[in-house]
């Protein structure tokens, strides 16, 4: 809810996410899909719409769209149809985009958001369909010309459309992160927003709570979660301002100006688009075998929600910690490798603390972690068997990050093994008390606070390696004598 000058407003947000399918070849041609290739070097005659060229669909793209539908608990439609969406644009060589308009391959589904207050919210998925990406027009290369690169033209996209169930920029952000996580678990989209593998159009309108939907504006082509949230925030404020002045929202397509943090109307004239959809006569209806769909369903990996629930029940983690650990498939896998046969909470603690800290410093993901799951496990083992104190372990971990060495060899090489020999510790206590006989006398006279000083001196004398519990027990015995 947003408080305006004249009362509260509620945002109504629906997202259309374009997720690039992780196929090697395009949706209807055999050209490659690699990112960052030389312009027009991954273009087939079909992609460039040469006369007489015909589309043939890529089975793998269909498979991944169906898997995505299954991952969103959606209805899989055994018969779907590819339509032509007709419009002229230089990066759309045939003058039409092959898409699914009336009969998408995936129908209604849902996605669950974990809200910050611990509640969950279900967001409806309207549909998922397969369509072709367009090429890329570069407008900044020449004062009066645009340059066209068709490498992207024809790449398979899944358009994932949500119901207008989202109510704030924060929810939109949660939705996108969750969707990205599910797609990556499924392995259907790499979720790489910088490379444009995941792009988002936001439909935003404002209303008074309880009233019908207002007129919406569509913000096109946002390529980061942050931009999505900023754009929605700005657009909401813009609309409220108009509405509170008694104005009306004009239905528009808008662009988000990243540099200025504002949305603006697209300058291209809003001639009422008339896409003249009709079934592509070069293709037949897409008919799926129910047995094949059932096999894909059976092969579906464990998804974030299920994994989170299992982490809570199996490992006794808090829902928050479990949520953090399952967000990325790789993190969850790493955690399970560390946690197996060990204290799961210690594993979670180390991963979410020191390891995430190190990864953030380097700006890398867990798959590139300098510390392997096996090494982190070994470190936790060294704490459990008393070889290392927690404090020493932190030093060892820092060394592991710096050198990629195994914790056992670091302990060995640096002599960091914890001192647990009672005689050795007792000797250190005696030496400290003897060297500080004045303080010892003061303590005995009632200055209890000096206890901490003695501990500090003893740890210092043992180069921090003395087992803290033993130091405490033996020191107390000595002082009590």
């Amino acid at each position: 809810m947003i408080e305006g000058a004249t009362g509260p407003w509620e945002a109504v947000i629906g997202l259309e996410v374009h997720a690039q399918v992780v196929s090697k070849a395009k949706l209807f041609s055999g050209a490659a899909t690699d990112f960052g290739a030389e312009p027009n070097s991954q273009v087939s005659l079909v992609d460039a719409a040469f006369p007489g060229m015909l589309p043939v669909i890529n089975r793998f793209c269909v498979e991944l769209a169906v898997k995505t539908g299954l991952g969103l608990e959606a209805e899989i439609r055994l018969e779907s149809v590819f339509d032509r969406k007709n419009y002229f644009y230089p990066d759309l060589p045939p003058g039409y985009q092959i898409s699914q308009y009336q009969q998408p391959v995936v129908g209604r589904g849902k996605l669950t958001l974990d809200m910050s207050d611990g509640t969950v919210r279900e967001i409806g998925i309207t549909r998922v369909h397969l369509e072709q990406d367009a090429g890329k027009s570069l407008h900044d290369q020449h004062p009066s010309l645009s340059y066209v690169d068709l490498n992207r033209a024809g790449i398979a996209l899944m358009e994932i459309v949500s119901e207008p169930d989202l109510r704030s920029a924060e929810e939109a952000g949660l939705y996108l992160r969750k969707l990205r996580s599910i797609l990556r678990y499924l392995g259907t989209c790499d979720g790489n927003m910088e490379e444009g593998s995941l792009r988002c159009d936001c439909n935003v309108s404002m209303r008074r709570p309880g009233e019908p939907y207002g007129t919406r504006c569509e913000i096109k082509n946002l390529n980061s979660v942050r931009y999505v949230m900023q754009a929605i925030e700005y657009e909401g404020r813009r609309q409220i301002e108009i509405l509170e002045k008694g104005g009306a929202i004009e239905q528009q397509t808008r662009l988000f100006d990243v540099a200025r943090g504002i949305t603006r109307s697209m300058r291209s004239k809003e001639e009422a688009h008339d896409y003249r959809y009709f079934p592509d006569p070069d293709l037949l209806p897409l008919v799926l075998d129910p047995g094949w769909v059932a096999r894909l369903r059976a092969e579906l990996p464990e998804l974030p929600d299920a994994k989170k629930a299992r982490f809570v029940s199996q490992y006794g983690l808090s829902p928050d910690d479990a949520g953090v650990l399952v967000a990325e498939k790789e993190t969850a896998l790493f955690f399970e490798r560390v946690a197996t046969g060990r204290d799961p909470k210690a594993a979670a603690h180390w991963i979410m603390g020191d390891l995430f800290g190190a990864l953030n410093r380097f700006g890398i993901g867990i798959e590139a972690s300098p510390v392997s799951a096996e090494q982190l496990g070994a470190l936790i083992d060294l704490i459990a068997d008393g070889t290392l104190s927690s404090r020493l372990a932190k030093d060892v971990f820092a060394e592991m990050v710096a050198t990629r060495a195994h914790p056992a060899s670091i302990v060995e090489a640096k002599g960091l093994r914890q001192v647990t020999d009672q005689g050795e510790i007792a000797a250190a206590i005696d030496a400290v008390l003897a060297a500080n006989s004045d303080k010892f006398a003061e303590y005995r006279a009632g200055r209890d606070k000096l206890y901490g000083f003695f501990v500090g001196q003893i740890m210092r004398a043992t180069a921090g390696k003395a087992n803290p519990a033993l130091v405490n027990r033996l020191l107390k015995e000595k002082l009590a004598q």
Binding site: F50, G52, V56, N86, Y96, L283
Partner: protein
């Protein structure tokens, strides 16, 4: 000097002559190269390829000499300029494909070359195959080699495959490829006194054929005899994984179907065709055809195809709708003509205005209209529903009969310039060919007689889907009975 007597041979005869080494492929091709030059006044070819033809003939001769000849080795054929041919100008008879040189070969022509056929050149047509007269070409109209006796006005060869029909009829190609969307193989075959076969939709690949209306475009052969059509179809047909609508079926030995025996086959005579503006002379030839087939032991049966009268408007909604989308790719960006403008849209609009002729423009506009918001349901969707009913008509008929006999066109050829100011009158030419196009059924036109003013008239045999064998078998008997021997007034080799 080449030997003009070679030009009178059918494909089967030429094949046998080459096999017997009565003449070489180069001799045959040289004669045809001369014939191509000789019929230049007909404007049947847009791009002759004589050097390439001789090269291909040389390769065929080497195979023939070694005794490992291919089925069509050394047979000189013409290619409708709607088929993309690698490294050879491909125009679709449109200004908008100016200088377009495809870096690929259509599946059908590739199959023909792999069968040893020799390419004489690319033939003229109605622009983008839109027409029934071959007069809308950017490269000028095609003239029929036929004249009405005592009347020297040039006649249309029919269309859209008019260049191919004229070339085969005027003996400037042994055979040719055509494409049939609403009758574009059969009607010019009828007008020019040759055989034209539209196979079942999906029998011949559309890959590499410039698209007009994807759900209606059928590549097929145009030949002098039914046997030649069977031989050509065998080489052109076959499953193509690059065309999603290509049928994954084996290709039968069509020539083997020409047994001459049609006893007991039931031939449907659709009563509704009589109502559709048919002249008495056409009706007489149709009746004659039925009698011939009956004489050969077949069984004529009157059938009803009640949706017949709706086929034309259905076709003239669906075909332009698909065309309006298929022709959007001609935008001046990647190939063909470009007229510069100040803005992108101006460049598009100027390019497409200059590049498309009036009939193509008209159909793009009609197609755009019938697909546009608010009209889609009433026109396009309605037409696709009627199309289902038309297909049902045929399905019901084929429960009772083995084939259907009908006229190919409601009249013989007309003069160039006639009908041209009334698009609907022009569209009516397709009345008997369009229904089987909409249903995707195989149909062949066979010359059956002459009209009162001495012009050829064809009859068509329509068959069940993928049953070209029965169609050819009956057509072969019809051809034998009709004994059509008349020769056009202008044939190559005549005056040498």
């Amino acid at each position: 000097m080449s030997d003009p007597s070679l030009l009178a041979l059918t494909l089967a005869e030429a094949r046998d002559g080459l096999a017997r080494k009565s003449f070489s492929a180069r001799e045959l091709t040289a004669a045809y190269n001369d014939a191509v030059s000789e019929i230049e006044p007909l404007n049947a070819y847009i791009t002759p390829t004589p050097e390439r033809a001789l090269e291909m003939a040389g390769a065929a001769d080497r195979r023939l000499a070694k005794g490992n000849a291919l089925p069509l080795d050394g047979i000189p054929i013409a290619v409708k300029d709607l088929y993309c041919t690698k490294g050879v100008l491909t125009t679709a008879a449109s200004h908008i494909l100016d200088r377009f040189c495809p870096p690929y070969e259509s599946t059908v022509t590739e199959k023909l070359w792999h069968s040893g056929a020799v390419m004489l050149g690319k033939t003229n047509l109605d622009e983008f195959a839109m027409g029934s007269s071959s007069t809308t070409s950017f490269y000028g109209p095609v003239e029929s080699p036929w004249r009405r006796p005592g009347d020297n006005r040039p006649l249309v060869p029919g269309g859209s495959s008019g260049g191919s029909a004229a070339a085969v009829a005027a003996r400037a190609a042994v055979a040719a490829t055509g494409t049939d969307t609403g009758g574009s193989i059969r009607q010019p075959a009828s007008y020019c006194g040759i055989v034209g076969l539209k196979p079942t939709y999906g029998r011949c690949s559309r890959w590499g054929v410039v698209a007009f209306a994807s759900s209606l475009d059928h590549p097929g052969p145009m030949t002098r005899t039914v046997r030649d059509a069977a031989i050509m179809l065998h080489a052109m047909a076959g499953h193509d994984p690059r065309d999603s609508t290509s049928a994954p079926l084996p290709v039968p030995d069509f020539e083997a179907a020409l047994t001459g025996d049609i006893r007991g086959l039931r031939v449907g005579i659709p009563k509704e065709y009589r109502a559709e503006g048919m002249s008495a002379e056409i009706e007489a030839i149709w009746q004659q055809g039925a009698n011939w087939l009956q004489g050969a032991g077949a069984d004529p049966v009157e059938i009803s195809l009640p949706m017949t009268k709706y086929a034309l408007p259905t076709y003239y909604i669906i075909a332009p709708a698909e065309a309006s989308s298929n022709l959007a790719r001609y935008d001046g960006v990647r190939f063909g003509l470009r007229v510069e403008g100040d803005s992108l849209d101006e460049m598009y609009e100027l390019t497409r205005a200059a590049g498309f002729g009036p009939e193509v423009r008209r159909r793009i506009l009609v197609g755009t209209y019938v697909l546009s918001a608010g009209y889609y349901d009433d026109y396009y969707l309605k037409a696709q529903r009627v199309r289902s009913l038309i297909a049902r008509d045929f399905a019901a008929a084929f429960e009772r009969v083995d084939c259907i006999l009908a006229p190919t066109a409601p009249s013989a050829a007309f003069a160039i310039g006639e009908n041209s100011d009334d698009p609907i009158a022009m569209y009516l030419n397709d009345v008997f060919t369009v229904p089987s196009s909409l249903a995707g059924l195989p149909a062949i036109s066979v010359p059956a007689g002459l009209s009162r003013d001495g012009l050829p008239v064809g009859l068509q045999i329509i068959g069940r889907a993928f049953d070209e064998e029965t169609v050819l078998r009956i057509a072969y008997v019809l051809e034998s009975a009709a004994q059509f021997r008349q020769v056009p007034s202008f044939v190559a080799g005549d005056r040498r």
